[in-house]
């Protein structure tokens, strides 16, 4: 009988390896250009994991290709690799240790950076509160006093999106901006992430920042923008009908332009 299927499958697997190698080394459809201080570390770990998994992919797919090519309709069956307890034991120990070492290296590569990302923000970090709601983003700046005014959901109206309690004096200099976030380049910022209704996710792809906004929780993440420009803010958690267009904009700019922008905003936090 012919062994054409084996040949065809090995050709297919080879083509697969080549096209995958191209797909994962081209850079046109790739991560958006990084714009934060911690971002390059994530990208570096990503690249290393890509190399490790890439090698495993190529080696194993090509091994499969060689085996199906070589042993299709094979008359001369080799019977050495049998299910013998001893062979199995050593095979398990060797294969298990190799893959375990890969696991440990992938884990430790990511782990140190992961823990770094969750360290307390620098003392000079600015604070911005992000509140997701169906289907927009509210950004609240604390003003000169550095403190955000109290909110009470019961006070929420169409003209007071966050339910800011005006009796609280710290709210007087707060600034609320809808769908427009402005940050100062090079300055650390703490984003306090909340939600009014369902779960959203505050995602800044260029900054490698992604954090769910969970109602009932205030979760802080911090980062340092490194590049001036206009960026898109994505809602990355299914939040309902218009989730797909729950989009906001981030402007990273110099301290001067930022001060100018915020001075034009109406204080009061509403």
């Amino acid at each position: 009988m012919k062994r054409s299927e084996g040949t065809a499958l090995s050709v297919f697997l080879t083509v697969l390896v080549i096209s995958s190698a191209w797909l994962f080394t081209q850079r046109y459809w790739w991560m958006p250009e990084v714009a934060s201080v911690h971002g390059p570390a994530i990208d570096r770990v990503f690249s290393i994991v890509l190399v490790i998994t890439g090698i495993m992919f190529v080696v194993l797919q090509l091994t499969l290709a060689v085996l199906v090519f070589k042993f299709g309709r094979n008359r001369d069956v080799q019977r050495r690799l049998w299910s013998r307890p001893r062979a199995e034991k050593w095979f398990a120990i060797v294969a298990g240790s190799v893959i375990f070492m890969v696991d440990v290296s992938v884990y430790s590569l990511g782990e140190s950076e992961w823990l770094k990302a969750w360290k307390t923000a620098p003392a000079d970090a600015a604070l911005v509160e992000v509140t997701g709601e169906q289907f927009m983003w509210n950004f609240r700046y604390p003003g000169a006093d550095g403190a955000l005014g109290k909110t009470d959901p019961a006070l929420t109206t169409s003209s007071n999106a966050l339910g800011v309690d005006s009796r609280d004096p710290t709210s007087a200099d707060d600034v609320l901006s809808t769908n427009q976030l402005h940050l100062v380049v090079g300055k650390p910022v703490r984003m306090r992430i909340r939600s009014k209704d369902v779960i959203h996710s505050f995602n800044l792809p260029h900054f490698r920042v992604k954090q769910d906004a969970v109602p009932g929780m205030a979760i802080e993440v911090w980062f340092i923008p490194t590049r001036e420009g206009q960026f898109e803010i994505v809602c990355n958690q299914l939040c309902g009908l218009a989730h797909y267009r729950m989009k906001a904009f981030l402007t990273v700019e110099s301290q001067e332009s930022f001060s100018q922008w915020i001075s034009q905003m109406t204080p009061g936090g509403k």
Binding site: L16, V45, W82, S83, A117, P153, I199, D212, G216
Partner: protein, 591 residues
Amino acid sequence: MDAVTEEGVQETHRGHGFIRKYVFSLDHKIVGLQYFFTAMAMAVFGGVLSMLMRLQLGWPSHSWPLLEKLLPVGMAGGIMKPEFYLSLQTMHGTIMAIFVLTAVFTGGFGNYLIPLQIGARDMAFPLLNMLSYWVYALSCVVVILAFFVEGGAPISGWTAYPPLSAIPAAGPGEGLGQDLWIVAIALFTVSSMMGVLNYITTILQARTRGMTMMRLPLNIWGMFTSSIISLLTFPVLLAAGVLLLTDRLLGTSFFIPSGLVIGEKLVQHAGGHPLLWQHLFWYFGHPEVYIVIVPAMGIAAEIIAAFIRKPVFGYRLMAGCWVAIAALSLIVWGHHMFVSGMNPFLGSVFAFTTLLITVPSAILMLCWVVSLWGANIQFKPPMLFALGFISIFLAGGLGGFFLGSALTDIPLHDTYFVVGHFHLTMAMSPLFAVFAAIYYWFPRLFGRMLNERLAKVHFWFSIAGAYAVFLTMHILGVGGMIRHTYDPTQYEMFQHLQAPNRFVTYAAFVLAASQLVFLFNFFWSLFRGPKAAANPWKVNTLEWAAPDPIPHGNWGARTPDVYRWPYDYGVPGVVQDFVPQHVASIEETSG
């Protein structure tokens, strides 16, 4: 041991009418076929939903006047509504993961094969088995009903995260549609419990003489382990579903915190926590992947073992790896929640346990690869699909390194990278195992052979299509394209991804079209296929030793005696190329 006393089995079941024989049947083979055909119908339905989604993603908000005629509500004006898109996505995920893949392996193949392969007369609890199917059938009806109620099917995804899924005002489909979804999941869980208790008991208690655990066919090991995972995790989903339902209908607040404002109205709930649902859901949701993939691996291993014509490598090792996977699967759920607001230190722990699960998975993969060494590979359609399974599972599994590590999950979480990853691992791999199983056991199930040429056409288009669709999705995800989105072109930064995104749609159509070749082959061969020989693949397992057609009770006066493991192929010093498990003595060659 036998579940049923040996004498008079034939007598007991004789004389029932059509309804007892084919509808409310106690025969595991009929129940298996009922499961199989129901799951197949659900798969076609779920597949059509995905095609509609791909149409929208390839050409966002394009007008399709023809589709308006078929779907006057969801496609009013010919353009897909966002809520319809989201309901398609919820239902596609739910139907495929639970109502198709969870049902078809243990419910379909397991039911048919477990008693036959272990030499039993039926399941340990035939009545429970019948009930299991009929509750499953009911759950399928209920889940599809969600499309036809006011507001339509739920839009909250197959993960149904509250508060979106807990508050009817949060969106269309979150009313009666979501209630029906929960009820359907609850019914499925009940059905699954009745099923898996039965499979576990049968495998442990009803094996025939000589069928020790270490002589079980590999696919039985897969189904056994999968059933144990189901038993340990599905009840948690049921509990979570009940809590969600009481939040929705009785005013409790398990998952709803205080102070929610939806549509400028204050929601009257207080004290709950949305992350509680995520923990409960993923405690089931991640093991669910293994509930599906472990029996798929078992089938692939079984079929590889049959077509290499030499003893499979690592039988004990594979069984051990499945048990290890089952154990580890219970402590990895948090990797779905790295950016959910869960304590980041918990993320560190879950990242480690998640990566650990690659150890048994990789060993399994290597066992199959090593088994091919020096083999005499027969490229029959089941084997092609089993080899495709290895290749695809490898490709999908490697993506797990990126998502399992908390740091690299940050940019990739909830992007198309995840969609590509889980479709390769828990959609395409299991599907390839299902096809391998169908091509392999079709002659036993229906006494006829499937057309080999059509099967090969089906294979080549399926494997090329699977890779074209889901490998490309990985790149979309690296580019940041988010999932759950009705229209990715809303974002400027995803505009350049629209070309590969449209390519995915074209490839998905090819993939779907090649399944029509399979369906044609299946139904044509069912009636017109050439009659199958008694043991067409020349294999050792007991199901091929049963009489043809297989009567209720499976065996004649006495269940078979088992003398050996199932993989005595091409044993040196033995005349026969294969030695079935029930053959007592072998003929040895001299020297």
